[in-house]
Symmetry: C3
Subunit: 444 residues, 3 copies
């Protein structure tokens, strides 16, 4: 009887769905897949909060407000830029494999389902938060001396041009299966974006970082790095945890379906994060200067998560453990390299995490992936992975240089030294004696 | 074919559920709808953390503990008040359309499914966190000078009388479709609560704010506002992000089903939030005093989210963009109006966000809604929307005046000036030299 | 019959699943159950962030970094330890009811489904975050004077031996229904872990707390507790809210299925948390020293949540209200008892919350449970509950003593007094004049 009732309800139910969808879309969708990807989009959105928390904890007290503001503004840039044209450029019908172009997908006019089993809007939301992640990596790399407005312009350009273009090459066939996406067609595998999201973000970040220059007081006269006080490590650790949670969705949702694959992916993600945190902590503890211990512990965990992102669907849990252990060490070495050899001022350690971790993870697809899950024989796969990384780095670096040059020329990138020292004087957060309306008006 | 598959799946799905439900409830429920609304309830619960974070960042250092405590206590008031009687008053069988009354729904005795496809308890949980949201708006408006106990009493009264009564009029037919709910029956449309939750909360807040008076030192002798140092803007931005995530559930779950509507609703919500943040930031940047830039950026985003709340199910993504852009400007103008013209001390900017945003959003239903989705012709709809707002404001303001008068008379609303200046001396968070047990005992 | 149904469902479902699952697992799973438990695992993971936030807010400014680091490192210990062998010890085929042992479950080699309707990996992930919760309780209890490395070793031992062993006795039959788990077979009921997770964590914590001794300056010469400044109560309240949200999953997911039970469980959880917060606040307000008001309000809420954990599936909402009200008072009394009578230095109040709350909740199964849902007649049930608690306490305390003795002997537990006073000098978070590389190298 009950069984019968339930059955009747279910049957009666579906009409409601359909009626409602009339005005929106008459396309059907797979319910479990949709619920899962939507949940994952929410988790990836949470990563915005994670990045903000991580970054504000790592910069000095007086820059917390401006770094936080940039994190919010790049979310805005991501949402608007990707909504207006970015999504259409990335996933629309391909023009010669170079760029997508489909007016229906611009300004959310008709976000249909493409070839997916989930609604087009859910796919859009999921991709949107991915774009937001790529953008927000940059805010960390350039924090503490870049103005909010030039940063916003840079984010917008990245969201409408740089990210969708490279994204089209590597992932352009996700929405239409037969869309031309030349890197994907060559066999380049980047499951959830070690290269597409992380390495790309790091490349924009490193160009920005070099062009804006180091913070005042970061290096002494001989070019040796000086200690700059982080405002609150504990707050940053909250950020790491939020990011870690978000990664369940970042990797787990990239299947775009709710299948048995999802679970092993999430398992691998967690194992890699934990083992990378472990190796980074103890490598630093025993072999490096402990003054950076907390930075390395946190960055290590994130590097493991970044690295597993490309390969979590093709490696075993045991391989994930090994990838994680290596990632932690790679992060620590990369961290010192950036700071002490290249003498770049990366306030939140974005480059070792997203750049080194992203590249390493993309290579791990070929190095650790189960052969039967790879597109090509292992060594060919490795070659193609290297080509993909190379293309990403070259393309992104060139476009970023052009972009930042133009911003610098027409607007200026950096705040004035007074503002940098006092904190970017936005809002009333500084002691009143520092408050100076004239100075305030010069904030860029 | 897909339709057929989905139907088959739904039918085959149900047996598992049934076995377990024997002891609790023999009523059936639709699984995807239930999973979705439950997930949304969790997201709305997260908004409590968002409000707390937003508000504590915006008040001065010495008031962080007391504002946080109030946020926790109003959650408690909401849960208990709504559980004991509020839910029954709001959704129970209507008495003459004025108030619901159904003992089964009191004290969670028998939270049956009503006419819903989801379990009554899940509907209760979802509504519960909505009530909590309305209450918590008040804590921000009155922060920095109101005692915890009088505030708790006010929250409890709001949760058991003010919110359920007006809620009954506007939403009383959600649980029983044919329940008399006079505003809803007239055609008043407030999808997820721009009026029911936000305007109502703002009205209680503005009355409380006026009756408790401005904080010491907020205005100078000539009545001009003086700068008060926010404790941590960056922390508030975390709050904005958590709220934004919560809004996916706040609006997305208000369908109470998992249909294709959900996706466009969430899309609209995000677009409105982002565009409002954009317009508020740049409007302030170019046309207003930049001293409040961060407040306006954050408040702008939230105003867009509040405004889209009423209309996200009837407008297009493009309209959402426009609604958002307007919301940002409305917020900024409202912010200055409250502070500089009305000279009210609204420490966290609750009134421009929830009051102005709520009213504007409720009107947008008629102004931007697709005609075929409106209950009435556009101009009649607009009239009814205005009537609904008018009823909400009048009713809430009158009851709030009575409530706060009584609290003031029998208990007192405001802490002593010493406590206000030193921070409300709860807990051991102040330097020991300030610690004074006698003073402590006077904390209200 | 059920088996058959599930199988049928799974089969019909699988077409999508199968293609992908070939290499991972060919086992079927119930989709709604799986989605739900996975969502709950995510929520419980969020509790790691909640604990971190709660604890760092309650310790002094200079210990925030080290407490946060410990929270991250015990997550790492939990993930690695449980992944390598802990899960196999806890849920593998039982050896004489003492310990599970199944190489397939070690190092995630083959996390099959056991007798569950959800994938083995999802069950692993859910159990993993439970183990993490037990570990993190210890970090609070020992905060402010314990080194990170000895703490990490302790966490690892707890994750691979103490937690899995006792867990095997109480929950060893969750994965294989006919696995020998002697406490469960006797009728011991601990639905979501008041004893298995919370009391166990508290027991490890209290042993650690005693062996490491109180923080410098916690008690005066006469042994009276002195006030120690918490770094940020407001931040801790955020932690309480995150924990509260996480508890929806902690209790709601412990059904391991998505049935009607879930909803009443979540309802009960919320009611108990709110009423405990209410009673703790007002009991302290009217009858105790208000100097600890915020600690007691927060701890009260958590105690209610801990207490309802064991019994949320067998009590009514009204009983939950009563259990909550009692929990708040028990917490407050326990708090004063630990501090003033036993003179233990429990910086974040872990023992009254998890110890007292855990024991009380386990007893509530028999005291408040509906008889028809209990395994045994009420008084026999009560006896068995007491036996279970007794076993947990005795076993855990003995093993913890051995563990901490060994760590103390071979490595040392406590940091040097200089480090304790200045904060554990990890990272660059202290003022530069305090920065001393030699001192740094002694950090344990």
């Amino acid at each position: 009887m009950l069984y019968f009732t339930v059955t009747t309800i279910s049957i009666l139910f579906l009409p409601t769905t359909l009626l409602a969808s009339e005005t929106v879309s008459t396309q059907a969708f797979n319910i479990p897949d949709t619920l899962w990807v939507l949940l994952c989009a929410i988790l990836v959105f949470l990563m915005q909060a994670g990045f903000k928390t991580l970054e504000t904890g790592l910069v000095q007290e007086e820059h917390r407000s401006s770094v936080g503001s940039k994190n919010l503004m790049d979310l805005v840039a991501g949402v608007l830029g990707f909504f207006l044209v970015g999504f259409g450029f990335m996933f629309g019908t391909s023009k010669y494999g170079i760029i997508g172009f489909e007016p229906d997908l611009f300004v959310g006019q008709n976000l249909h389902n493409g070839d997916l089993t989930i609604p087009g809007i859910v796919f859009f939301l999921f991709q949107l938060v991915f774009a937001g992640t790529a953008l927000t990596i940059v805010s960390g790399a350039m924090s503490g001396r870049t103005g909010v407005v030039p940063y916003f312009i840079g984010s917008l350009v990245t969201a409408v041009i740089i990210y969708p273009l490279f994204g089209h090459w590597a992932w352009g066939n996700l929405f239409y299966n037969n869309n031309m996406a030349w890197l994907a067609n060559m066999g380049f595998m980047d499951f959830a974006g070690s290269t597409v999201v992380h390495t790309l973000g790091a490349c924009v970040g490193i160009v920005g970082m070099i062009m804006v220059g180091p913070r005042i007081g970061r290096f002494d006269h001989e070019g040796k790095p000086k200690s700059m006080k982080a405002s609150d490590y504990s707050y940053s650790i909250l950020g790491v945890m939020l990011l870690w949670i978000g990664w369940w969705g970042f990797n787990g949702g990239s299947t775009l379906t709710f299948t048995a694959d999802v679970f092993e992916i999430i398992l691998n993600t967690n194992i890699a994060g934990a083992s990378a945190c472990f190796s980074a902590f103890f490598y630093c503890y025993f072999f490096q200067d402990r003054g950076d211990l907390i930075e390395k512990m946190m960055g290590g965990a994130l590097t493991g998560l970044v690295a597993i992102t490309a390969c979590c669907n093709v490696v075993s849990p045991l391989s994930s453990l090994i990838i994680g252990l290596l990632s932690g060490v790679i992060h620590n070495v990369g961290y010192d390299l950036i700071l002490k050899v290249f003498k770049l001022d990366d306030p939140v350690g974005a480059i070792p995490v997203h750049g080194f971790g992203g590249i390493f993870g993309t290579l791990c697809v070929a190095l650790f992936g189960k052969q039967e899950l790879l597109v090509l024989p292992r060594w060919e796969q490795l070659l193609i992975q290297m080509i993909g990384i190379e293309v990403c780095v070259t393309f992104t670096v060139i476009l970023s240089i052009v972009m930042f040059k133009l911003i610098k020329m027409f607007y200026g990138l950096r705040v004035s030294p007074e503002q940098e020292i006092k904190g970017m004087l936005m809002g009333r957060s500084m002691p009143e004696e520092y408050y100076d309306v004239e100075e305030e008006m010069k904030v860029r």
